[in-house]
């Protein structure tokens, strides 16, 4: 009861204003799909498989409270505070991939030999703010 007496009741019309600062941005940082076929790049002459490749990518604004949602280090929030309060030429945290998955590629080498190779970090699977 004491707390209620102390805390001034926020008039309802400012309530939405008050909560706005905690809302997450509409176009929040998240993973976006992008599919390409190697024939578009004219690489299908020597990339036999796969025919299509989805590298995905990360895009969107980083919310101010990023810690618990993106596993961001504390530095990310510090950078955000610097941008907001000290120097806006310092960029806000960026939305970048945090995890990847590999891709298997079957290609024809210039000497006519054929190679099957598994490449690391070819498909973005998770985004973060850094």
């Amino acid at each position: 009861e004491e707390n209620l007496k102390e805390a001034p009741a926020t008039p309802p019309q400012n309530l939405s204003e008050y909560f706005k600062q905690f809302l997450f941005p509409q176009n929040e940082c998240e993973l976006h799909s992008f599919r390409l076929s190697f024939s578009q790049l004219k690489w299908d002459k020597w990339i036999i498989a796969p025919h299509r490749y989805s590298p995905q990518y990360c895009k969107g604004d980083c919310p101010r409270v990023v810690g618990h949602r993106y596993g961001s280090p504390v530095h990310t929030m510090v950078q955000n505070i610097i941008y907001e309060k000290l120097d806006s030429s310092v960029p806000r945290p960026s939305c970048v991939p945090a995890e990847y998955s590999p891709l298997s590629v079957l290609t024809i080498e210039p000497d006519g030999s054929i190679v099957y190779k598994e490449y690391e970090d070819m498909i973005a699977t998770k985004c973060t703010c850094r």
């Binding site: 498989a49 796969p50 190679v115």
Partner: protein, 302 residues
């Protein structure tokens, strides 16, 4: 200055020979004069665009692979990766690279000696220039493709291999300086492909970075019913296709996928939310407290 919605320049942009470049979708073209961008491409794209550039600049037509070899590698690809190209989780295999070489044509002598029932012996020269120093040999196999349209009963084959030192004084085919024979027994039963494991045989050669492997392969098969010549003739025709050489390798370079490494990596540092530490609370002072209250409120709301 780059507007947010314009495609990021780091989208895969094949630096291909000029003809392809003009046909490329504008988004995928690197800005004019950004030749240094080529140096920034990750190794895979560099290799691929290199290949594009090589075949275009040098004007040499890309050597087309043997159709049977291509069919085998497509089958191998389907065994090891999904349609989207994701490697299947194979506990067994530690290799992340499989290379298939077809023999160079100039050194092939074929003869068959019906008296001893020799199907055929053939000289093979494989050029392994594409194997990089970071690719370590795990297994090597001679791959024979048999045409199974001819009805064959099961038959036993013995294969003798001998390797020849490359004698540089000779013009085309080196003389045999020493040969090591290796006899293998295997049974072929209506199979399209016969794999002869030659790992122990080639290991020392590839370990010493030998780039040209010259070997003579001598096939002798005991047919189901030796009296039946017609079958023998059919079989001889079937088996005359020179074998390909398959190398199963572990590429230890940065950009190659190391399954055991990725398992360890995932266990070591999963990207989980970090506990907010006191530093952050101090830095933001009362705002921090307000946020945590707000957070609590927004969590209730959520």
């Amino acid at each position: 200055p780059r507007s947010e919605d314009r495609a990021a320049p780091d989208k895969p942009s094949g630096l291909l020979g000029a003809p392809e470049l003009s046909e490329l979708h504008p988004l995928l073209r690197l800005p004019q004069g950004v030749s240094r961008g080529y140096a920034l491409l990750p190794p895979l794209l560099k290799v691929l665009s290199d290949q594009g550039r090589q075949s275009w600049e040098s004007g040499t037509p890309r050597l087309q692979p043997d159709s049977r070899a291509l069919r085998y590698m497509k089958r191998l690809y389907k065994m090891y990766a999904t349609k989207e190209g994701i490697p299947k989780a194979h506990k067994s295999h530690l290799y992340n690279t499989v290379r298939l070489f077809t023999p160079c044509s100039e050194c092939q002598h074929r003869h068959r000696d019906l008296v001893t029932g020799d199907l055929h012996s053939v000289d093979l020269l494989f050029n392994l220039d594409r194997v990089t120093a970071l690719e370590h040999l795990l297994k090597s196999v001679l791959l024979y493709s048999f045409d199974t349209s001819v009805p064959t009963s099961s038959f036993m084959c013995t294969c003798h291999l001998s390797v020849k030192e490359h004698d540089f004084s000779s013009q085309v085919c080196p003389s045999v300086s020493h040969s090591v024979a290796l006899s293998l027994h295997f049974e072929v039963r209506k199979r399209k492909w016969v794999e002869i494991d030659v790992t122990s045989f080639l290991q020392p050669l590839i370990a010493t970075n030998r780039r040209n492997i010259h070997m003579a392969v001598n096939f002798t098969c005991i047919l189901g019913n030796p009296q039946d010549n017609t079958k023998q003739d059919n079989l001889i025709n079937m088996a005359l296709v020179p074998p390909s050489l398959l190398l199963y390798l572990n590429d230890t370079s940065e950009q190659a996928y190391h399954r055991w490494n990725s398992l360890r990596h995932r266990r070591k540092s999963p990207v989980q939310p970090k506990q907010r530490n006191s530093l952050f609370a101090d830095v933001t002072g009362d705002e921090g407290r307000e946020k945590t209250q707000g957070k609590r409120a927004s969590r209730h709301r959520r």
